[in-house]
């Protein structure tokens, strides 16, 4: 597909990627709850049923059938793109991803594969209940055999989804519904489909490295701008891919900043931030202050905005963590 640039919303960028995949890869299928005739509960898949007919269809409310169906179709040569409306709902059918999709290639030593793309979205949004607010990337990222990405920009909504669909491995693409319709941006369409993996620098800086992923990136950038006024320059890295994680990029940045803060919306305990901090510590990189994880405290996500705001990482909390990291009020992370 020839390169072109268009102003699109995040949702339209996803739609453009799906349209391109359906056009260029005849073996793709797109299905899930409300994705076809209604065009998706968030309008992301609008127009695809009309353009591609039966290759785009609505399913019953049966996540095991959706995911298992995708796996079986992939084993038989299709390239299914399945939607799980909320990441929270994947928990009724996680078996199909962990015990099934992740094993197909390994056990058959490559005779079979399960090149499925699972599109979902997650996170907190005003008024959403505890069963519609979780950030579950840690569940997927712990599974050998799965790939996991979390596009946080309009461009990545397009690029990462295509990388996922083009990949011959099962990939979980975790979008965020608060981004879908939050304004339009220039998005480069067409061109080569990027390979899986690789972090991106969203803001260069020399004082502290902030690794983040998902929609909370906007809070991180806001905090970084705020601190810049105070002369603290944070380098903001967007992991983009949670598995594989681009540790080299993190270590490269740390070599310059010597300070690490990891920010995600998910609960800190057992979250992927722990993996990052641990990997850095194992690498033995000298740090000038103790690493800091910023995420949700140990609590369920309450529905009332006044309560949710108190637990979802905000620019304030992040700025505070960055300040502590730089002013080293935290105990230094060990001496040789």
């Amino acid at each position: 597909m020839p390169e072109q640039t268009r102003r699109l919303s995040y949702a339209e960028a996803v739609n453009a990627a799906l349209r391109r995949a359906l056009e260029e890869r005849p073996e793709t299928l797109l299905f899930g709850e409300d994705v076809a005739a209604p065009g998706g509960v968030f309008g992301v898949t609008k127009g695809l049923r009309t353009q591609f007919g039966d290759r785009v269809f609505d399913t019953p409310i049966s996540e095991s059938a959706i995911l298992g169906g995708a796996i079986g179709a992939a084993m038989f040569g299709r390239r299914p793109i399945a939607e799980i409306m909320w990441a929270d709902f994947s928990l009724v059918a996680l078996d199909q991803l962990v015990n099934q999709a992740a094993n197909v290639r390994y056990v058959s030593r490559g005779l079979l594969g399960a090149p499925i793309t699972v599109r979902t979205q997650q996170g907190s949004a005003p008024g959403a209940c505890a069963q519609h607010s979780q950030s579950l990337e840690a569940f997927f990222a712990h599974v050998p055999g799965l790939r996991v990405c979390m596009p946080a920009t309009h461009q990545d909504a397009y690029d990462l989804l295509l990388s996922a669909i083009w990949s011959d491995d099962p990939v979980i693409v975790i979008e965020n519904r608060t981004l879908y319709h939050a304004g339009r941006q220039e998005v480069r369409l067409g061109g080569d489909v990027p390979p899986v993996g690789g972090a991106a620098v969203r803001r260069p800086g020399s004082d502290v490295t902030v690794l983040t992923w998902g929609a909370v990136q906007q809070e991180v950038l806001a905090a970084a701008e705020r601190l810049s006024v105070q002369g603290i320059e944070a380098e903001v890295l967007d992991a983009r891919w949670i598995r594989p994680l681009d540790l080299e990029a993190v270590l490269g940045s740390l070599a310059r900043t010597g300070r690490l803060v990891v920010v995600h919306e998910a609960h800190t305990i057992g979250g992927v931030g722990g993996e990052v901090v641990a990997a850095v510590a194992e690498a033995g990189v000298p740090l000038r202050s103790a690493p800091i994880r910023v995420g949700a405290p140990p609590v369920r996500i309450p529905a009332a905005p006044s309560l949710a705001q108190a637990v979802i990482p905000s620019a304030d909390v992040i700025a505070d963590a960055l300040t502590r990291s730089v002013h080293g009020t935290a105990v230094p992370a060990g001496r040789g």
Partner: protein, 318 residues
């Protein structure tokens, strides 16, 4: 046919639900309530009829995110319910549940569930407890037609049938799953027919007639209390509104909602009552009373302060 007094009670109960939903829609449209709000306009007869058949001092219902009607029919006053939707500290769950996941066990309302079908095995489990505590309690799991295709519902029904648990599975069949019609969900839309292969009775009932629902649920409660096990009831009804507030409903065929409006439970019951000789004035007075009750509750809840974050970390563990 039940006596007029009973029908008037049903009318008031259904109006309370309908007027509550209309006010909730307004609050959502205004932005006082945020997030997804799923209204039950048109399905009121199910909640009113079923709760009239239960003994909520011991029985319990396990509904879905579309649960305002169930909550009111269980006896929760409109004020703490509005407050919950509004994220107020005075909400029935202090704002933690919200519109789609609130709970009021003290009223026999054992919690909405925002995971389709997940309440069915939980209700079966409550019934399991009833078998062992000798309380004679009955659990009622309510869910939609679309939920019938969720694995957990299947497992719950088979589990309840094989263990003869005192649980009632009540399907609110409005023939839609969110924005998708039932034709995309099942090949056979007679959902009650699934019951017999599990070994429990199944029946389709008129979900727009509170008396019919009450009768069917009463019979099911009787069976359950006497140890005869579960029942599957498919209550035929319709949504007079979108899946959520803001749903443009482009997917609904022309005339469908208009036709539904002619047959919806309140309109129907009003006709019955008029035919039974109840005066229009009395009926209007009743409507005014409930309207006033709802308006007052909404106003009061709106005036309350938002949920206080100070205690947000509490009650995660015992």
């Amino acid at each position: 046919m039940p006596e007029t007094a009973t029908l008037l009670d049903h009318l008031e109960s259904m109006r309370r639900i309908r007027f509550f939903e209309e006010e909730a829609a307004r609050l959502r449209a205004q932005g006082d309530v945020v997030g997804s709000v799923h209204l039950c306009n048109g399905q009121e007869a199910i909640y009113t009829g079923a709760c009239a058949a239960l003994d909520l001092s011991r029985d319990a219902v396990f509904p879905t995110y579309r649960g305002h009607g169930w909550t009111l029919a269980c006896g929760v006053p409109p004020y703490p319910l509005f407050a919950e939707l509004l994220g107020r500290q005075s909400g029935i769950n202090g704002g933690r549940g919200g519109s789609a996941y609130l709970t009021a066990p003290e009223y026999g309302m054992y919690g909405e569930n925002s995971i389709v079908g997940a309440g069915a095995p939980i209700a079966a489990g409550a019934a399991l407890a009833a078998v062992h505590d000798g309380s004679g309690r009955v659990a009622l799991a309510a869910f939609g037609d679309g939920a019938m295709n969720q694995g957990a519902v299947h497992e719950a029904m088979n589990f309840a049938a094989v263990r003869r648990l005192p649980v009632i599975f009540l399907v609110e069949n409005n023939r839609y799953s969110e924005l998708t019609p039932i034709a995309a969900m099942v090949r056979v839309d007679l959902l009650f027919e699934r019951a017999s292969a599990y070994g429990m009775p199944g029946a389709r009932i008129d979900g727009n007639d509170p008396s019919a629902v009450r009768e069917a649920v009463s019979e099911a409660v009787g069976r359950a209390r006497s140890g005869e096990g579960p029942v599957l009831l498919e209550a035929m009804t319709q949504r007079l509104v979108g899946h959520y507030v803001g749903d443009a409903q482009r997917y609904r065929p022309a005339g469908e909602i208009e036709r539904a409006l002619a047959d919806e439970p309140i309109v129907r019951l009003l006709a019955v009552l008029r035919a039974a000789g109840v005066l229009q004035d009395e009926l209007d007075a009743g409507a005014d009373r409930v309207h006033a009750e709802i308006a007052e509750a909404s106003k009061r809840a709106l005036a309350d302060p938002p949920a206080a974050p100070t205690t947000v970390l509490e009650h995660l563990y015992a």
